[in-house]
Structure formats: structure tokens, C-alpha cells
Symmetry: C2
Subunit: 323 residues, 2 copies
Amino acid sequence: MSSELISKLFLKHFNNPHLAELTDSAQLDIRNSKLAYTTDSYVVDPIFFPGGNIGKLAICGTINDLCVSGARPLYLSVGFILEEGFPIKDLEEIVRSMALEAQNAGVEIVCGDTKVVNRGKCDKIFINTSGIGVIDNKHNDLNRGKNIQPGDKIIVNGYLGDHGIAVLGAREELNFKTLIDSDCASLNSLISDILNTSNQIRFMRDITRGGLSTILCEIVDEKEFGIEINELAIPVRDEVKGVCELLGFDPLYIANEGKVLIVAGSEDADKIMSVLKRQPYGIHSEIIGEIVEDHHGKVILNTEIGGRRIIDKLTGEQLPRIC
Amino acid sequence: MSSELISKLFLKHFNNPHLAELTDSAQLDIRNSKLAYTTDSYVVDPIFFPGGNIGKLAICGTINDLCVSGARPLYLSVGFILEEGFPIKDLEEIVRSMALEAQNAGVEIVCGDTKVVNRGKCDKIFINTSGIGVIDNKHNDLNRGKNIQPGDKIIVNGYLGDHGIAVLGAREELNFKTLIDSDCASLNSLISDILNTSNQIRFMRDITRGGLSTILCEIVDEKEFGIEINELAIPVRDEVKGVCELLGFDPLYIANEGKVLIVAGSEDADKIMSVLKRQPYGIHSEIIGEIVEDHHGKVILNTEIGGRRIIDKLTGEQLPRIC
């Protein structure tokens, strides 16, 4: 429904060349600089979860949207909407972790705004962040994946599904607890490393809402190529698999907040993998599949038990308020 | 309380040279360009009111924050938080007026995000906008008012208090109706005109939350000058005065959404006034007072009946969810 809203309503009225790209961030030419610009609102429930909180998420999410576009994130804005009576102690913990995450990522929070609404008119705290980064000319086409071609390798930088399961496990109404931490992390250092290593990076996207499957489907959508991925190669923790089985979820559709999908020329795949594995957020990187000439517009999963099945986009919202 | 929150909590953790200025927008040097960057969240209640709606407000507000910094607004981001079940018809009306306002102001909406939360977890719709503009070098110091000096004239571009009273009158629980429309408007054309007319513009600020009084107090705060304003010269509609009297409000503290306060060298005041009066949003402009050498750090109002009183900052939130 959200996707339908965006395409029908927003594109109809806000239509312009920047927005119509529907990428992670808009690419803007301002005088002689090429900038990336992006925004996201965060409404995650609960606001504190293992491995992070809504504030850390709001910083990492926007940083990642910028750097998968090939941009070096520089500046962030932060807008808070607070429910009257929200504990200052909690606000301070959130703000502290935002400041820490921004500092670690080398990004400055330069403008902000706070609104307070009456009790019951919002759920504790919502945070919007927007961000600006600069794009080197050679990384211009990363966001659109124009240069993707058959033979390219598909890489992910580690275990999938941790964020979604961590948040789910932190919900009081659900009767299970997990030891899984959210993977919530800023990937700008990791991404800058691989961009410096290889000029064969064709496309990147952070694997958030909708999970791996949704992005793979978007990559092949109306394209003259297909994708083949190997279930055995996809890194998913046993505990995440277990919870998913229990609750009827598919880990390939679960949101992540520190994972990027990379499409890269096969000749550089090993070089990229070795750089990734030296990065703290890339230790468990895997090549999970490749772009193929067959079955145009389709994503095929080679299953663990030797079968093949078509992967579809996420239909309906599997996990609401996961970010 | 909001002001205390900002100064204590946010400045403590997010402290950096850009944010610490506490101006309408951050000024950023990116490569060879100077940019202005700002954000605001909008939670106005009700979302539709005479003269506008939450969407138009979200566009005008961010455009005005950029142009009072001397920037030419270029690009906006929009983040929606929607309550489940929010009528698509209302959303479309809001989106349509945002698109129209942006188009009229010559600004592009280039990136966006939508989150939906369960019914009862937010109040219909909240909108965050952020914006980017470019600053000409000669307008560098506008935001900080560093060049303000005794003798400078203080100008406002029309009737004060319309927005606050229009929104208040639209609240169902209040037992009055007004014929007042919100003054909600994008001021970039008006501001660009006066910046092209005079190089004696020392300072501008949009007169939003806290009203005229709050901004005047901020201008003199810890400064070696004072301000004197003349009640008779301040443009306030009779109906706004009437409603304020009835409800115990002071129009000088009521929020506006299409008003700017301008401090300008007295030698250019007439020239600026004649340019303002030719602009649709400047017809009722008035010189309301001046910067004086006396009573450092204080704002004095010469009242209609010949008295003098000190103007204080707004304490407490006079009108919640007015923007």
C-alpha cells in the first residue's frame, strides 16, 4: 500500500526528475558540487531494543542512505516529535547515542527542531533525520545501477534479519525473548573502503524495510537480466532462522539496519570480499549469488535442499514500525 | 521548557560550531558553495485551517527559514508520519497544496519518506520538511545580526497574529469562529527583492512561534543596544485584537507564518518599504521601531496610551500545536 501511495499520489503531485528516480537519495547539482540528499522518519516500536534505540537508528539509517548512493555523508538535520511527559532521562539517552553515532561516523548534526504534542497524540517519540553528502563524479551512477550486467556478483556484508528479530523480541506483547542484537550501524567507513578498492562497484543499497528479497526484485524489475542466489550462501544466524520458523516469517524479508547489498564486477569480487572482511561490519560478508542472462526480471533462489523457487517482492507489511 | 531543553540537552550532546549558532538555518561550506540547511516538524492542530493546511505550512515554514538566512531556497525533503486509516482524500489535498506551494515558490521537493503508525499512535498526520538553499557571499552574516547598530529601523511586512488566531478559531472545542485567514506564505520572492534593493539589511527572522516579542528579545539579548517599538505602528487587525482581548492573549506573542522581521540601516528604510509595499505579501508593511543606544538588552514598547513597558520573552507555551 505504501508503495502504491508513493507511486500514485506523491509522484503525481511532486513529480520532478530528482524525485522520480525513487532511489535512496536525491542527487543534486549545486554550483559545481554534486550532492546527495535524503530523509527518513523513524517510528520504531519499542524505542529501546537490544543493540540500539530510535536515535541511533535515525543516525545510521540516514548515513547509510547517503553512502549507498556513493556519497560521503557530511551533515544531518534532526527533528524530534515528543509526547508530552516523555521522560527527559530517556530523551537524554537517545540524544547521547545519536551524538556518539554521528561522531563515530564523522558526520555533524547541524540543525534541528523539537515539537511537543499532548499526551496520547504521538507514541513517545518520533525522529526525522535528513542528510547531505558529497558525491565524487566517478560514483554518479551507483544509485541507479545502470551498469549492472550478467556475471556481476551479489555480496552482502553479514547476517541478515538481526534488526527485525531484535526489535520484535523487545516488544512486550510478544511472548519470546532473543539474544539477538540489532545490526544497526553506520556503514560509511566500510563503503568508502570498498569504493576506494574497486571501480567495479555497480550498485549498492542498504537492506532495510522489505529485506533482501525486495531489493533483489527491484534490481531486476523490467530489466534484461535476472538474478540467481544460493540459499546456502546467505548468512542468517541459527537463532534468527529459529524465530522466523516459529513465527512464520522469512528471514529474506526481514529488515536490517547495518547491511548493504553490493553488486560488483566478478573480476573484483575477491578483492572486495577481502576488504569487507577486514571491516568490523563486514567480517561475515558473503557472495550470495550473481546477475544472470536467464529469466529476465526474475529472482531465482537455489534452495538448501536443491530446489529452485522464484522470489517475490514483500506484499503487505510483514513487521510494522520496525524502523 | 522547550528552550531549556534545547540549550541544555541538545547543545550539550550535539555541540558543534554550526548548531551552536541557534539560528534559523545552519550555514555550511561544501566545496566552494555556502549552503543554508534547516529542518522543522509540523504538528499543527487542526490540520486544515482557514488560509492553509499542515502541508502548505510545512513548505512555507522551511522556505522562510532558508530565505531569512539570506539563502535562495532550492530543494526540500518531506517526511510524512500518517495515522493508519488517515483518509487518502485528505492526504491528497495536503500533498496537492504542498506541490502547488513549492512550485509557486520555485523550489523542488526532491526526496521523501512515509511511515504509517497504528491508529491512536499519532494524531492524523505529522510532516517534517528540511531544506537546502545557496547563500551569496555578501549575505553571510544576515542570520546572526552581527551588523545591527543603533539607529537601524525595524520593519514587519504586515498584520501580526493572523496565523495563530486562524488556527485557534478552527479548533472545534473552542466556541468561536473568526473570518481571519492564516498568513501562511512563502516569502522568498519578497525577501529576494529587498536583498536586491538594499545592502543595508542587517538581520531578518520569520516571526513564528513566540511572535514578535520573542524575536525582539532575542535580538537584544546580551547586546550593547536596546530596542524601542511603537504600539501604534504595529499592524494588527481589529478582529485579531478583539479575539486576543477575549481570550487573554497578546498579539505580539502570537505565531505568524508569512511574516518577517527586518532590521535595516535607516538610510535605506524608505527604499525597502516601497519595495515591500509592491509585493503581495508586503502591502501592509510598517516601520515599527528602531535599535537604540539606551537600555541595553531591553525591548521597550511605547504604548498606544503614551506609556512605556518592557517586553519579555514568551514564558510557557501560549498556543500549543500552532505549527
